[in-house]
Amino acid sequence: MTDLLDRRLIFVSGKGGVGKTTVAAALALLATQHGKRTLVCEVDPKGDLAASYECSPTGFTPREVQPGLWAMSMNTEESLREYLKLNLRIPVAGRIGPLARAFDFVATAAPGVKEILTVGKLCWEVREGHYDLVVADASATGHIVGQLSAPQGINELVQVGLVRQQTGWMLDILSDPALTGLCIVATPEEMPVSETIDLAGRVAKETTVDLASIIVNRVLPELFTTGEEEIFDRLCEPAVADQLEEMAGGPPGPILAAARLAVTMRRTRAGHLERLRAGIDPSVPLLYLPYLFARAHGLRALRQAAEALGAELGL
């Protein structure tokens, strides 16, 4: 298997709310720490990427936000402009008036146009080789297949024309597991696990992109080892708890309750983890990221996540 960070293009997807952007941002940071010039792109710009790096809002033009790390956000209209400028040598502003006005319409009407402009821009950056690695904080599980399969879709719909010519080399990049990989982020909860299993199946069936790994985020630490839970149960007995209260100088109730909560949460999640492992092709590695008890989201939390990812990748 190609090492994850040795690929040139990594898509990061996952159900909403699982920490997709954090993982993509951490992956890019980790690559940078290992000497790779990295571009990270927020495909559905909500500003979460900028929040992760604690930098000012990202735009279509990549900007160096950390040494060796460039960040951008996707904008399909800008992508079209760039494409036209490069391929048709059409002067950009103003002159393409009708086309610019029609863009929204064409993009809306022609399925896959927005997707192809997104994937196309990312593939183009890979082909041009300005960066060692391009990380896409891609769309959520519902839309990623549409994005990844857009070049094929266009190939089927559009028989001739420049677009048709363009999809060939994109497919070459996307289909090569040495170059491109998809990471699905999940948390050990019911819906994220179900969606991850579904998505892995659809990606295999409907796209040519290699599933590089599943990244399990927010994994809770095991609180007790064998036999320790019995000890904990005895601690919770009223007489013992009273004794503890006296010794520790205050009621231990909340602490015991919190431990109980942590144990139950961990147990429920362990079941979902098993389901995930069983539902995914065994050759796909699962990487585990611990639940970060961080004060705030931002660079500090991001560095912790990158470190944990590095450890999981054996770096």
């Binding site: 319409f105 909340p254 602490i255």
Partner: protein
């Protein structure tokens, strides 16, 4: 004290379910929208009676099983009485549920508005139509609202609770009817398909076609044009419909329930959404904060105790004695639970701060505690609803 104290959160939330005809649940992905919508509907059926329908997009498998929703599509089905008796309640009304099948809903829409069978068949067979109805993201937004309109105008339900589909942007579906209407009535559209109708490319638009042909290929443009020419036959019905859907969202019988967790990103989206509702003069009925960590994690006394336990775990273990456990293991347990408490406290404190900010809003804010286990049946849903509405 004022003679008419402001209603408490739960009273007004209860009123909401009793007085409104449509409740739309929205928020960013992964915050528990579907579960909240189902819980609200179940609660309304139990307390207020009447026929209550919940329209969900993609419920968790076990929840769908529990509601008897597995395998059903667009058609509504009644949640069996057995599910309620298993939960130990006797509902005053009925609970119905339906899943949103985007493709099916689009097909129904075409059948309803198509001028004749031949056109209908042509549209349904058009590859572009199939793409748009199946994949096109905005079409999901629109069709959810369209389906809501359909169900509401049939008038067979007292209350309809809708779970909105995951959107790229939370407000997309609010604008979807407007945008669909604009889209089909746009001059641009007519201008674009005109030459394919008349086979006469007008002088002004010629450069556009040259460019478009080079990019997309003529055949593809013709496919697009054919699709829209066919769709134009449904123009009047469709635009009128989109306007009605828009009106329904603004109707005073409709209210919105914004669901969020206390994490940064969903909260930002919730804030954004609340503003969008206010701007559009839509009714914000409730803000529901899901998966809120228990208050005891904020206990200051406990953090002192945890500190002591962490520092002198060995000493405490020795003093508690072997009757509780072997000293080294007991020491580890005491240390672990203390540091676990302090870890969770960090998160709970961060969340409490964000909660305080939100409570400053005049809206109705309710919280749902963190449930340690998944909600897999009706009694779980009702338990969750109790937290919001009791």
């Amino acid at each position: 004290m004022s003679p008419h104290p402001a209603p408490t959160a739960s009273a007004s939330l209860d009123q909401l379910l009793a007085a409104k005809e449509i409740v739309i649940c929205c928020g960013s992905g992964g915050v528990g929208k579907t579960t909240t919508a189902a819980a609200a509907a179940a609660m309304a059926a139990v307390r207020h009676g009447g026929k209550v329908l919940v329209v969900t997009v993609d419920p968790a498998r076990r929840l769908a099983d529990a509601l008897g929703l597995t395998g059903i599509g667009n058609t509504e089905s009644q949640v069996p009485a057995a599910a309620f008796s298993a939960a130990g309640v006797k509902p005053r009304g009925q609970l119905w549920a339906a899943m949103l099948d985007t493709k099916q809903s689009w097909d129904d829409l075409v059948r309803a508005h198509g001028p004749d069978q031949a056109t209908i068949d042509q549209i349904l067979a058009n590859p572009l139509y199939q793409n748009i109805s199946g994949r096109f993201v905005q079409s999901h937004d629109y069709i959810a609202m369209e389906r809501l309109y359909e169900l509401h105008s049939e008038g067979s339900y007292d209350l309809i609770v809708v779970d909105t589909p995951p959107t790229r942007n939370a407000i997309d579906f609010l604008e979807a009817p407007q945008r669909m209407g604009d889209f089909f009535s746009s001059r641009l559209l007519r201008w674009l398909i005109a030459p394919y109708r008349s086979r006469l490319v007008n002088f002004a638009s010629k450069p556009f076609y040259q460019v478009a042909d080079r990019i997309l290929g003529t055949q593809f443009l013709q496919d697009i044009a054919e699709f829209f020419i066919l769709f134009q036959s449904m123009y009047d019905g469709f635009v009128e419909r989109a306007r009605s859907v828009s009106r329904l969202l603004q109707d005073r019988r409709t209210t919105f329930m914004v669901v969020s967790t206390l994490e940064a990103s969903p909260l930002t989206e919730a804030d954004f959404f609340i503003e969008a509702l206010t701007e559009r003069k839509l009714h914000l009925g409730a803000v529901i904060l899901n998966r809120v960590l228990p208050d005891y994690l904020l206990d200051e006394g406990a953090s002192v105790v945890a500190g002591t336990m962490e520092k002198s775990a060995g000493d405490l273990a020795a003093r508690l004695g072997a009757k509780v456990g072997p000293p080294d293991q007991l020491e580890r347990v005491l240390g672990e639970i203390a540091s676990s408490f302090l870890n969770f406290q960090v998160v709970a404190q961060r969340e409490a701060e964000q909660r305080a900010e939100l409570s400053a809003r005049p809206d109705v804010v309710a919280t749902i505690p963190f449930f340690e286990t998944d909600i897999t049946d009706l009694s779980g849903l009702l338990r969750l609803a109790e937290h919001i509405w009791s």
